[in-house]
Amino acid sequence: MAGTGQTIRTSRPVLSAGIRSFTFHGDAAPALEAVDLQVVPGTLTAVLGPSGSGKSTLGRLLADWLPPEGAGTLEGFLELAGTRLQFRGREDPRINPAEWGRHVGFVPQDPAAVLSTVRSTVAEELAFSLENAAMERPAMKAAVEHSAALLKLTELLDRNPAGLSGGQLRRLAIGCAIISGPEVLIMDEPFASLDSAGAADLALLVEDLVRRGTAVVVLSQVVDAPLLAAETWIVLARGTVTASGPPVELLGQGQLPSGIRSSGSGPAAEPGVHQPAKAPDTVPRAPVLELRGVSFDYRPANRTGRRRRALREATGSDRRGHGVLSGIDLKVRPGEIVAVTGPNAAGKSTLLRHVNGLLRPTAGSVLVHGTDITGAPAGETARSVGLLFQQPRDQLFERTVLREVQFGLDRLFHPGEAAARALAALSAVGLAAAAPRHPAELPASGQRLLALATVLARKPSVLALDEPTVALDGDGLALLDAAVRSAAGEGAAVVLVTHDLDYARATAHRVVTLDGGRLNG
């Protein structure tokens, strides 16, 4: 059933859209064209597409997070609960966002964007929309407890939302979206960055919501296992629907573009190709990176109060008082790829921040090329260590893509070489054409690759990658894989942290597990 808008449903759709075109103000080409979809109560719909295919734009339009009258020109219609709004690009109807929000809940790709930032506990954050609707307190309490139980947030109700880990934050964002019982729930890449336990919990929740009659729409560039149970898949590519229908049909016909990858898979390549020609263990060489008995906790003595709080919020760590890392020993030789796996909030990101000196161990030492980096400014360690942050928004801060890659290069190379290296690094991740654009304009996968380019351009002898696969589509993953292998081939030591065990096994020479602050394996 290829084509658009041919799905025939017996049940009436609660939300439907017939988008002839949607063009952002200032853009010549439309971001979406000929997109039709109907969302039926009690069903799961997956909108699949590679990064930059227009999924997020579609999701935000459907949720009125991108008000058509303000952000661009919409031609077509949106229909919610039997009311059709026709848009022609002028004198268009205005949508009341609060009214729309009661029917359509939305969880954006970055869950932190949902938070009101003025509520001091998770419970109050959950209750925010109910307060605004003037719900009486007993009913509000019951609703908060119910949603918290659904999302396993009960233990966290009294915590400050600013200190939650990435996975917890996503659960809170979903809670905020479903607490007022919307008929439609739209989630943008909800499974990204969740560990397998978190993803399984979310899959159960989706199943439960669908059973209760909610229409759930998941936007994704990865065919996560729960999406196989969807009634309908809608495949987007370059802003238009290329195929739609039940998953079985689409999989059978091979209608998925190459940019969409299936869950947990590495890039398609022969197993033999995965191994670098020379296994690093055959030639014993001195380790480039060595961790000796590294322990760490967010102790008051380690930092002053306000700095420590800012740090904890900046790193998203939620562990207080007790040891995050205890007695970590790790040696990585030139050309070796080591993967560190472990559940969400196990301290994996904290471990990586020790490798480039952003965090100092409370005990033990970190050696790069045999020199203890403890006490050296992180900026000096950055000469030999490159760190890819978990969130591109933590790594990118410049006005253009090119400036972003060039930052700091002038300290290492003379101006001509710095520019050449920046362009070479951009070409290596397929972003040469995007050089003059603003990093925030890139799709999630592009932002991730840009962050990778900023690290690669420095040619570090230690590459530390924090969840490198998250937010990458299939093509991006292939680029990442090539980059990591070529860096290792040139003698860099690579430490990558991932919750994706399959990827770790496919890529690394050695897999170790971080759990309860200790390294095993």
Partner: protein, 247 residues
Amino acid sequence: MRLHPLTSLAAAGSTAVVTTAAASWPLSVAVMGAALAVSVRVGTARRLLPAAAVVLLPLGLSLLMVHGLFFPEGRTVLGQWGPARVTMEGLAFAFERAAQLGAVVLALLVFSFSVSVPDLVAALSARGVHGRFAFVLASTLTLLPAIAARVERIRQAQESRGLVIRPGLLHRAAAFRLQAVPLVLSLIEDAGTRTAALESRGFSNPGPRTSYREVPDSGRQRVLRAVLAVSAGAAVAARLWLSRAGG
């Protein structure tokens, strides 16, 4: 028992008004002492004292300069340098004013350092104060930690790419210029998404709203607040009446 934020606000406000109206230095000094004692008791003294010093030292010094040296009604001259005369009366007046000011500032600081902002916001919105005002009030207090966390993130990103920041406040301050532009741009970008999120959660609803946070209140506290308000009014009235009768 936990004090309702409006009760502590009423206590601080009426103390400030009564002390100002009374203009008696023994009362001012007593109030200052009491404020400090309360602050030590609730454990805010370490944050309060520097803040109080920042406000009061320049004010106290300027009072001393103006009144201590140039007090026209001064009779008992302690020293003289050209047009400047240090008089007993001038010093007494400067001290009286400084004590009065000190009492007011300390009373208000004790309140602002000990009040729970979420409680205050909840109490205000329960009394029909518009949601936007409550939001702005809360934002002013949550914004600073949020900005600090953001600067820290940007700084870490820059350090990871070779920006060398040596330890110490001065180096940090010098490096801040590199973080300022990214900070402002990212805050603006954030504001756009945040607006969509807030609007879809009914933030602009014109109707009444409720509060999830419970702020315990009691009849006794309500009476106390009324008494505090009346006594502040009475002190002002008495002051006006006395000055009219005297003048």
